[in-house]
């Protein structure tokens, strides 16, 4: 019940801050762009757009959200409230993940992409969003301004996105699937281009496991570095 209330409060906050509104525009702009692409490029571009924008929006927004709540004293109240840190973080991850899934679904559906594995696409968008939002929470430790946060995201983004080049394929490139973003992109591409259920299941289980570890790590960093500022 506490978690559900926290999710509802976060979604309402995000709505008031215009997240949903801005993503309607983002989706429309992407759809306009996609409608002008030749078939061959459209088939490649759609999953890449869904992966590179809606799925990683959590990383972009979580920094500002935490800094604002820190400034408003919300985090201080959190310490004495019944809401656990893990629930606070999970609420943020799920509410931002919901926007990711909504935007990804809208872009895919209205683009007219044929034969999409919707279950895999939704799972991939949610799991990718969670990976990036957890990363954002950890990056946020020690930041006092949004500019500071944005700067700190650059090496993380490079670390998470550059290995994705491995999906082009070269000898031994499968090793890079261990990098969560590569696994997430592999799953996302599979949702559009086709993927065996065993591979999809393995990737989903792997990403869920990574997210569980990231949650544990994020809770520790959040409590030590952000709430108590040790």
């Amino acid at each position: 019940m506490r978690l559900w209330n926290a999710i509802k409060a976060d979604m309402l906050f995000q709505f008031k801050q215009g997240f949903y509104f801005v993503y309607v525009f983002v989706a429309v702009m992407y759809l306009v762009m996609l409608s002008f692409l030749p078939e061959k490029i459209f088939l490649i571009a759609t999953p890449l757009i869904v992966f590179s924008d809606p799925s990683v929006l959590g990383l972009f927004f979580i920094g500002g959200i935490i800094l604002l709540e820190k400034g408003q004293g919300v985090l201080t109240v959190l310490v004495v409230s019944p809401l656990r840190t893990s629930e606070y973080i999970i609420a943020k991850v799920l509410s931002l993940g919901f926007i990711s899934v909504l935007a990804a679904t809208a872009i895919t559906f209205f683009s007219g992409y044929q034969q999409v594995n919707w279950f895999v696409m939704v799972a991939s968008a949610m799991l990718t969003s969670a990976v990036f939002t957890f990363s954002g929470i950890m990056i946020n430790a020690g930041c006092s301004t949004v500019n500071q946060y944005l700067l700190k995201t650059i090496p993380w983004m490079l670390l998470l996105t550059l290995p994705c080049i491995a999906l082009v394929g070269f000898p031994g490139s499968w090793v890079f699937t261990a990098v969560p973003s590569v696994a997430a992109l592999r799953l996302m591409l599979g949702a559009y281009w086709g993927i065996g259920w065993v591979e999809a299941l393995l990737l989903i289980v792997y990403l869920a496991g990574v997210n569980f570890l990231l949650l544990k790590w994020a809770v520790r960093i959040f409590e030590n570095k952000i709430v108590f500022q040790e």
């Binding site: 801050q17 215009g18 997240f19 509104f21 801005v22 525009f25 983002v26 702009m29 306009v32 762009m33 002008f36 972009f60 927004f61 920094g63 500002g64 959200i65 800094l67 604002l68 400034g71 301004t145 949004v146 500019n147 500071q148 944005l150 700067l151 650059i154």
Partner: protein, 235 residues
């Protein structure tokens, strides 16, 4: 002289802050990344798929120029939002610097750097042949664009999170630069009212004087409107 002292002091302050200094260097990184992509990736794509991107070079240049100017504007916008949170903007308003002095100091950073990065980007990428006059016009217009983005964020966003939402929406403005590619009349007409469209038009038609005149009018129009809005809301 008075303002020069403030600008130099602000520059020192920014350079002392490693975060701000690094962020202001970010456009250089983007220019290098695009140069590397053009040198290594473009030939690889051409040899594999037969896709020649040379006809698209003016659009590539437009994209990088607008991206850099927009980024500098966003950085300035967040800097001003931090000032707003810390009531520094209000404090500045009652100092001899005044509200307009504060605005000039903050926005001049993004603008001066935009001029510098426009020249750097043009000569480093070296993918479109323009005369010096056109590059100079582009640099001034992009400086105005940077300032407009910073002002839009400062006036429109009441907190950091809204600032992020704004910056996301403002990123979309870059699409207006490519309006002609979409062959949608309504989209092109809407684009006429936005600065990015005219940046790409100057690159595509460097000798068209009327394009330069309209581009200047649109950029100045936006800046004047935003400055007017800033003073109106600050009262």
């Amino acid at each position: 002289m008075f303002r020069n002292v403030h600008i130099i002091n602000d520059l020192r302050q920014v350079l002392r802050d490693s975060v701000m200094a690094s962020l202001l260097m970010a456009p250089a990184l983007i220019i290098v990344v695009f140069k590397l992509l053009l040198v290594f990736l473009a030939p690889a794509v051409a040899s594999r798929t037969g896709l020649d991107i040379t006809p698209w070079y003016p659009w590539v240049l437009s994209f990088v120029l607008i991206l850099n100017a927009g980024m500098l504007g966003v950085v300035t916008g967040f800097m001003m939002l931090d000032d707003k949170d810390g009531n520094i903007a209000e404090l500045m308003a009652v100092t001899p610097l005044g509200r307009s002095g504060y605005l000039l100091n903050r926005l001049s950073f993004a603008s001066v750097l935009s001029v510098f990065y426009t020249f750097l980007c043009y000569y480093v990428l070296g993918i479109v042949a323009l005369n010096v006059f056109s590059v100079a016009v582009l640099s001034v217009l992009l400086a105005v664009y940077s300032a407009s983005i910073g002002l839009l964020m400062f006036s429109g966003a009441e907190n950091k999170v809204k600032g992020l939402t704004f910056s996301k929406a403002l990123n979309l403005l870059i699409l207006f630069a490519f309006a002609d590619l979409f062959s949608l009349k309504w989209f092109t007409v809407i684009s006429w009212f936005f600065p990015p469209y005219w940046i790409s038009q100057i690159i595509l038609n460097p000798f068209a004087f009327q394009v330069v005149v309209i581009a200047v009018a649109v950029h100045i129009g936006w800046l004047v409107l935003l400055i007017f809005h800033y003073f109106k809301t600050a009262e």
